[in-house]
């Protein structure tokens, strides 16, 4: 040990004092009874340990000491608290007999003495509760019952609207506007001579009962006033409800009528637009135009066919082999003369006759050809005229289709507006029917109930006070037991358990 490395006397004492002060904070975690007896010896031992650590040449001796002290506290603290608690419980339940008490009340079990606060507090609290109860005024309850009915004789069930659901009715019952009217009414009646003017505020409640009934309860300090309030409340609410329902229906009908007028105006405009259109475009029915176009097209095709036939006949010079065909006759005679000339080649008369016939045939041929050309020319002219006519017909047909489409659109628009008008008219009828079958609230009991008080429940209140007093007594007993400074002598406890953590 190097004496020069040791702190001087004053500094050493200061260090010891500082460590001990810190350890004192640790000892405060121990139970009060343990601390009262052993705090100072523990600090003394710790101071000795600090001095030893300061004298020790080992580095970290103080740190090791603090580590062991903390570990020791961690293991011994729960143990001491547990034992303190066990001791307290044993004292509470098995208090040893005190000679003075036992001499006075030899038959009283001493172990029950800590519990005496419970009955004492219960009795005191019960007495106080009874005294307060005696001063509490009586409460009375009056009620009115409403029945939700319909005016419809057929009994098809309730006509439901948003304001007719049970929840809605219940919420409307306690609306300020209804209760304010009831209070005003009661205030007016109370202002009459011989009546009190005190307008009290009773406790109100509304709930749904069986079979579409609604119960309105009024609870107050005066039976007559509670009853009066219940009667006024029921009447005011029925009036309010009917007025409100009727008002809703009237609003709906007015809105419906307005809509009907609007759509009727629209319908008129649509009809006028259709008539105007028809007047402007005439009765251009697309089917007629189409027929016109089709017939012109057929005529055109016939002309084309005729032209084709004429052009084909140009190829057949002789034309058809019929007795009426002069060219065929001439041709036949020419062939006959040629046959005869073949038999008598020197016959001059045959030659002359053959020459004449051939000249006739040629002249006839030329005549036929010129006639055919003339026909073809005429046909071409007709075809050209027909093409123009056909184009005009086609154009007319297309125009008539567009007009027809527009007309159809206008007709559809008119039909749609007419359907809306019809639906609105039906709605109007429905609203009228609804007004006829409007449900109603019927008062089936007004200001009912008994004049016997419904509160306060004095036995229950007193019982509650007794119970709470007992609970307070229990708390008091615990507080007193904890606040006792000197623990009673406890029986020897077993040392065979619980100290295994002595090793560090």
């Amino acid at each position: 040990m190097n004496p020069t490395s040791l702190p001087s006397g004053e500094a050493r004492r200061e260090r010891v004092r500082r460590h001990a002060a810190w350890f004192r904070r640790v000892t405060r975690l121990y139970p009060a009874s343990f601390r009262a007896e052993y705090e100072e010896p523990m600090l003394q031992v710790f101071r000795d340990q600090v001095r030893e650590a300061l004298d020790s040449p080992e580095r970290g001796a103080l740190l090791g000491l603090w580590g062991r002290a903390v570990m020791d506290s961690v293991t011994s603290l729960p143990r001491e608290h547990w034992r303190a608690m066990r001791t307290w419980f044993q004292r509470s339940t098995q208090t040893p007999a005190r000679p003075s008490v036992n001499s006075v009340m030899p038959n009283t079990p001493a172990r029950l003495l800590p519990w005496r606060w419970i009955p004492i507090c219960a009795v005191v609290s019960g007495l106080v509760g009874a005294a307060i109860n005696a001063r509490l005024p009586n409460r009375y309850r009056a009620s009115s019952t409403l029945h939700f009915v319909t005016r419809e004789a057929g009994g098809k069930g309730l006509v439901q609207t948003s304001s007719m659901t049970p929840d809605s009715i219940l919420s409307q019952m306690v609306q300020d506007v209804v209760l304010q009217r009831v209070r005003m009414k009661l205030a007016e009646s109370h202002a009459a001579p011989g009546r009190t003017n005190a307008l009290w505020r009773p406790a109100l409640s509304a709930r749904q009962g069986p079979g579409n009934t609604f119960l309105m309860s009024v609870e107050g300090l005066d039976w007559l006033e509670a009853r009066e309030f219940a009667v006024a409340w029921a009447h005011e609410f029925v009036e309010f409800y009917s007025r409100q329902l009727s008002g809703q229906l009237s609003n709906s009908q007015a809105a419906n009528t307005q809509q009907i007028l609007t759509f009727q105006r629209k319908l008129e405009q649509a009809s006028q637009a259709l008539d105007e259109f028809r007047r402007k475009n005439g009765s251009s029915i697309p089917s007629v135009k189409h027929q016109e176009f089709a017939s012109k097209q057929a005529a055109y095709e016939a002309l084309l066919q005729e032209k084709t036939q004429l052009e084909e006949s140009r190829k057949i010079r002789l034309g058809p082999a019929t007795s009426t065909n002069p060219m065929f006759e001439l041709q036949f005679e020419i062939r006959k003369l040629e046959n005869r000339l073949a038999v008598a080649p020197d016959d001059a008369r045959l030659k002359t006759e053959l020459g004449l016939k051939r000249a006739d045939l040629k002249a006839l041929n030329e005549l036929v050809e010129s006639s055919r050309d003339e026909q073809l020319l005429q046909l071409d002219r007709k075809i050209a005229a027909m093409v123009k006519s056909l184009e005009a017909a086609k154009e007319s047909e297309l125009e008539s289709t567009a007009v027809a489409n527009e007309e159809k659109r206008l007709i559809d628009e008119e039909s749609r507006i007419r359907a809306v008008v019809d639906a609105l008219a039906n709605q109007e009828l429905e609203l009228s029917r609804l007004r006829a079958v409007l449900p109603d609230l019927e008062i089936i009991d007004s200001g009912g109930g008994s004049n016997a008080p419904v509160g306060p429940n004095r036995p229950m209140n007193i019982a509650l006070c007794v119970g709470l007093g007992g609970l307070a007594g229990l708390v008091l007993m615990i507080v007193l037991a904890i606040s006792r400074r000197t623990p009673p002598p406890t029986p020897p406890t077993s040392l065979a358990t619980g100290s295994a953590a002595a090793r560090s």
């Binding site: 010896p41 000795d48 406890t493 040392l495 065979a496 002595a502 560090s504």
Partner: protein, 135 residues
């Protein structure tokens, strides 16, 4: 061989039946420390540390918790307060072994001695032990 079994040993005559079983190390070591004479807390702590070669180091909480219960059980008694001349002038509370504490300590020592004898017979003790400790 019934006597060799520690858990089946009977307490010595006059011993408190509550302490017939094995004592905790802290209790037994305090009893052993006080068998030498009256001691205060710090001296007990130092004695325990020395006799166990530093293996057991009691903290203040464990020491005084154990002393409290031993006092309540009558194993030890307070022997007054007086200053210890060695560390300083502070007055210290001394403790001494009671007759009952002496009996309990003797019984516990005998019980442990029986265990040691049994262990030795079975080759667990001394240099000739069947299971020598590793070098």
């Amino acid at each position: 061989m019934k006597a060799d079994h520690p858990s089946q040993s009977s307490p010595p005559p006059g011993a408190d039946p509550d302490f017939a079983g094995p004592l905790t190390p802290a209790v037994y070591q305090i009893l052993v420390a006080l068998a030498e004479g009256e001691k205060h807390g710090y001296a007990i702590m130092k004695d325990v540390m020395e006799t166990t070669d530093g293996a057991v180091r009691m903290g203040p909480g464990t020491l005084y918790g154990t002393l409290k219960r031993m006092l309540e059980a009558g194993l030890i008694a307070e022997a007054g307060e007086r200053p210890d001349p060695e560390p300083g002038e502070e007055r210290r509370r001394y403790y001494k072994l009671t007759a009952q504490g002496g009996r309990v300590a003797t019984a516990e020592t005998e019980r442990m001695a029986r265990i040691v004898r049994a262990a030795t017979r079975r080759g667990l003790g001394g240099r000739r032990g069947a299971f020598p400790s590793p070098a």
